[in-house]
Assembly symmetry: C2
Homo-oligomer: 309 residues x 2
């Protein structure tokens, strides 16, 4: 049965990247191997960025070398530049995910480059990759920047056109710090679908202000099909301290199940795996369905303490 | 400016009812007095139920006697039976909120009565109240019961008709344990609006599985206008342990603000008040906007640690 909505799992990359502890390589590999039998067609398994900036993911090469490759599962590596792309190719990533921010201020803070620097890097990445991997390009802060605020649609569309001209085969719009809302998502997705076919567009939302799932549904209703999510809702952003992270995979799958959308994913398996995360990273995770159970999980009748007397 | 959506604050009742510590009466009164200047037209300020079952709210009489009554603010008391209604009238509640569960199993556990017992109580309540207060009737577990599962629409509609026949002036549909989903909410609200005018219908959602805000928006799109929410997202349900509570007031107000719906509420005041809750109850609260700030709150540019090397 083909899925009505495609969920790309990003916990091994976006989920673990901000954790203060470094999860050992074999534990990461075991997590990815368990994820890859739950029905995902796409898993972002690591990144090839500055090891100083993100020590938690410094072992990307070893992770990609060690995971079990499964038929029909695309393993994605996030990269910011040519050097990252070369490491990703060396590690045999199926797809590289280039990232730049719509907000030039955010890009300078995050990447240490202006737009021109990142776009030159994208051109180098395209040339280096050739046909050896798929090239996705993510536009971060596409729904708002914590420094600049609103990002105008004209700029977002122009940058996507530039991405496509420079060789990106698919596009991700990322709400990096949870500033999107369903009204903005509907408008922006409709406009972007004028440039990018729906099968080549991914939306990446954070649940910073509790709007992750509602933004996914707004994007879906506006025509998007592919969405990033992170097991347990792991992830987050250094500029929204204390806030929760990515859209939670099992919470999204539970929602889809309740409204009759097929995800192709094993919800009970996801919940069981999510429940192993707190001991892996040393703290509770934001996801709610792993705590509360599925909506369809009934309880036995307790001895009552009644409200009446 | 009149509100596009009416938010009734239920933190002093549904939020505090499940807390293991008893908040002192003067602290409750101060909380309600601070809430009542933030723009609410309706505040559920306490309940008159068994003091053994809910010791946290045993001081309802003192709370209602001590709060400042403000022009235009309706103070509501939850009651399960005639005795509760008499106490609420004595305490000069503006509105009494009778509650029974759509699920008879849940009603036996929660109320110690079958439907016939609760409906007889409602008839007694109506007679006792006369014109001395408004009578709202809540149908709990209206979107699903943790023991029985799905609640058929025919039963829900029949019980609402009975409520109206027995004298209820307005109706609340409550998703007591967070089992609703946006598809079900749309269907049920459309059907219920055939019986109840939109100005007399309130929807009460819990965020147990992360669907609180999306359910509010589904209900609003289907024609509902009035929604319960709790400061900080306080609340919860004994049958969904570890799960988060009611829809969070400030998270809902932030969402409304972002999509251009006027709530008439002071979002900055709500956030400031929500930030006092953890010290009041001794633990963090589920609300996210009080932690992350409003979407429009920008940050200053930090010294960058960049992803590139």
């Amino acid at each position: 049965m083909s899925a009505d909505i495609v969920i790309q799992e990003v916990c091994p990359r976006d989920g673990l990247q901000i954790e203060p502890i470094v999860v050992p390589t074999d534990v990461k590999v075991a997590l990815i191997d368990r994820l890859s039998v739950l029905g995902f067609r796409r898993i972002e398994a690591g990144s090839f960025v500055s090891q100083k900036a993100v020590p938690a993911l410094a072992d990307g090469d070893a992770v990609f070398r060690s995971i079990v490759r499964r038929e029909g599962v695309v393993f994605v590596a996030l990269i910011p530049n040519l050097r990252g792309a070369e490491r990703a190719l060396q590690a045999d990533a199926d797809e590289v995910n280039f990232v730049m921010s719509a907000s030039e201020t955010h890009n300078r803070v995050n990447m240490g480059m202006d737009h021109q620097g990142s776009l030159s890097a994208l051109a180098e990445v395209t040339a280096a990759i050739g046909r050896r991997a798929v090239l996705n390009a993510t536009l971060a802060t596409a729904f708002g920047c914590p420094f600049e605020g609103e990002q105008h649609e004209g700029k977002v569309l122009r940058l996507i056109e530039t991405y496509l001209r420079l060789g990106a085969q698919s596009i991700t719009l990322a709400d990096t710090t949870g500033m999107a809302n369903p009204k903005l998502v509907r408008q922006r997705v409709k406009s972007v679908l004028g440039l990018v076919p729906r099968a080549q567009l991914t939306l990446h939302f954070h649940n910073t202000r509790g709007l992750g799932l509602i933004n996914v549904m707004a994007g879906f209703e506006a025509g998007a099909l592919r969405f990033d999510a992170s097991l347990g809702g792991l992830g987050g952003c250094p500029f929204a301290p204390g806030a929760s992270g990515n859209v939670c995979t099992e919470d999204l799958v539970n929602l889809c199940r309740e409204i009759g959308l097929n995800t192709g994913l094993d919800l009970e398996g996801l919940i069981a795996l999510s429940r192993t995360l707190p001991s892996m990273i040393g703290h509770p995770v934001p996801g709610q369905v792993a705590r509360a159970g599925r909506a369809c999980d009934l309880h036995s009748v307790p001895l009552g303490i009644t409200l009446t007397d």
